[in-house]
Symmetry: C2
Subunit: 413 residues, 2 copies
Amino acid sequence: MNNYSQLFKRTKEAARKLIRVSEDQIGEVLARLAELLEEKTWYLLEENQKDLDRMDVDNPMYDRLALTEQRIRGIADEIRAVGQLPNPLGIRLEEKVLSNGLYLEKITVPLGVLGVIYEARPNVTLDVFSLALKSGNGLILKGGSDAEFSNRAIIQLIHQVLREFEFPEQAFLLLPPDREATKALLEAVDVVDVIIPRGSQGLIDFVRQNAKVPVIETGAGIVHTYVDESADLEKAQAILLNAKTRRPSVCNSLDCLIIHSAHLPNLEQLISPLLEAGVEIFADSVAFEVLKSHPEISLATADHFGTEFLSLRLSIKTVKILEEALDHISRYSSKHSEAVIAENQGVIDRFLLEVDAAAVYANSSTAFTDGAQFGLGAEIGISTQKLHARGPMGLRELCSYKWLIRGNGQIRG
Amino acid sequence: MNNYSQLFKRTKEAARKLIRVSEDQIGEVLARLAELLEEKTWYLLEENQKDLDRMDVDNPMYDRLALTEQRIRGIADEIRAVGQLPNPLGIRLEEKVLSNGLYLEKITVPLGVLGVIYEARPNVTLDVFSLALKSGNGLILKGGSDAEFSNRAIIQLIHQVLREFEFPEQAFLLLPPDREATKALLEAVDVVDVIIPRGSQGLIDFVRQNAKVPVIETGAGIVHTYVDESADLEKAQAILLNAKTRRPSVCNSLDCLIIHSAHLPNLEQLISPLLEAGVEIFADSVAFEVLKSHPEISLATADHFGTEFLSLRLSIKTVKILEEALDHISRYSSKHSEAVIAENQGVIDRFLLEVDAAAVYANSSTAFTDGAQFGLGAEIGISTQKLHARGPMGLRELCSYKWLIRGNGQIRG
């Protein structure tokens, strides 16, 4: 027992009531919330400013913390869009009639109560709320302390709308941003059905180490692209540039180019657009030998492999055969997004079969790993684990299922 | 790093190779293993006897530990049956073509490496091996120390068959039954994709408390059956008897009868077959008032609710309305199997919608919660959690999925 036990039980009890609300009612609540956010823009900006005043403008988190009129309008639009997505609940996944006449249905249901731990990004509070409500889940939020004023203002508006519609507002709880609350959340077995950490690798590691509740890990992408002997180098050049430089700070961006040694003579040309875009390169000794005239290219150390750079940096690994590329990926990949560039169909098939990752690409940029791109409508994160949900997680991934069995007095012999 | 790190890495590397073996080859390996078990029956019985010699005959685990010629034949038949089940791998779950021409497929893949921790039941070693191999998964087994001789003999035969077929035998590892090995397994993040404890609640609790790897909890069933005001009492009588006495030691057996107070005058008759079958009953004060003439019925204490009896014991809770039954179940259920007996369709619908459990029954015995009954073919356990797999877990529940994306040079704008 801790100070939060009663609060969490109340959340769980309130969340149970969500199963009774209709899809239409949920849509109305989300539409009203979007409207209220726009009405109260001045108030949100004022509270957000209190958080911003406590942070150094040079802090890389400052921009993520900041709300603007335009951002609030964008968030409101996203909330409306979530309200319009297909209902993920009550979908019949299987149906069978047993020989004794029992009628079985397997149908989607909410997970129950989600725990979400995140950093100083107030938009996450609203994203996650809209996805949780739409999927019939209660929610316990633990945001970063840097966003405390913003998050409190947001949860207040959420509760106001829930009250207007006589929804169980207690099913949505914002915790104070302190250690005790985090610890209580991580240990809330029997109340919280899953914890989803959203943020840095450090946050994810902390959650995995300390949670007693099941965790879905999201985020970290150590991404490779293998340029096979059979690759079309023009395609390869464009794909590498896109995968590395489109948005270097996101998880699907390229970290390591694996080059077949047959292409060492073409390597300089292959990476020239990357160098022009200001990418700093760490090449293994074989590749370094052909690239060393470039001052922006240095010799890779062990640390440069298996690193998620999240910046304009790239390592290069040279291989003589496909197996070596597969072994390198197996060793260093975070199982997020991996790609092969090849024209040889046998190589493509083997790469797609053997590489173990959420998204395995042939002849395409890894930048497409994204819920919206995959048609999920909205995304709570990109899972890098294999249980429950893998890759982009949308509303369906926030659901479990149950078996309903209808009988007429059947007993088992 | 610990002594097991290298061994586990070797297991993971070997398990990667399983993706290349065909459904037919797996069938042949399992058929050969079944044959070998029958050929080596004398050897297995001899090794099993060494374990039995160390255990007291009165120990309730003695019977579960014991192998016999007939049991070995039964296990061999089950292994052959698993070999004949439909292949759970490579199933296309979704398919879509994006407007830019990218072709996406979501297909089933093995989870990777399963960790299974269990008690002194040597048959589990073979059950779990056949399911793991059939689903393309590597396996790290940690059996009970009481079954050490039996398990070592079994894994030796498994490895012999794998060698005959040039399968990666190192993908299937039996750990020594000691604490250090268990700890290493529970912390083997990056090697083990899921841990499934099979055994007592104590074992499951230990695993949940100590695992850093994701866990699927199986087993514990605190099972209720609610007899509504509208119930057909003849059906109710038969269902209660079956759910309680068919196999009292299994997880789907009845623990608590919830009775609508309108049926208090019929309660004695309703439970008379249970009393005849020797069931010991703990009734709440209201029900006790009408039953107290029976010496085998006593007044329930708080402990009798929320208890998985696994024996011929039953608690009775009286309620005045459906809501009270729903609240009682929400509070005490382990979310395994729950039933309502009612003729009122509104009551049935509400019970099926609102009760949160893996299997929710109307007018049927809960004894049907079982992989074979649900048509899964074979079962590794019954999950009582909501992530990934819920209720009976068969081969499909030992799989994850991945997205394959085939392109022709696509980059993201």
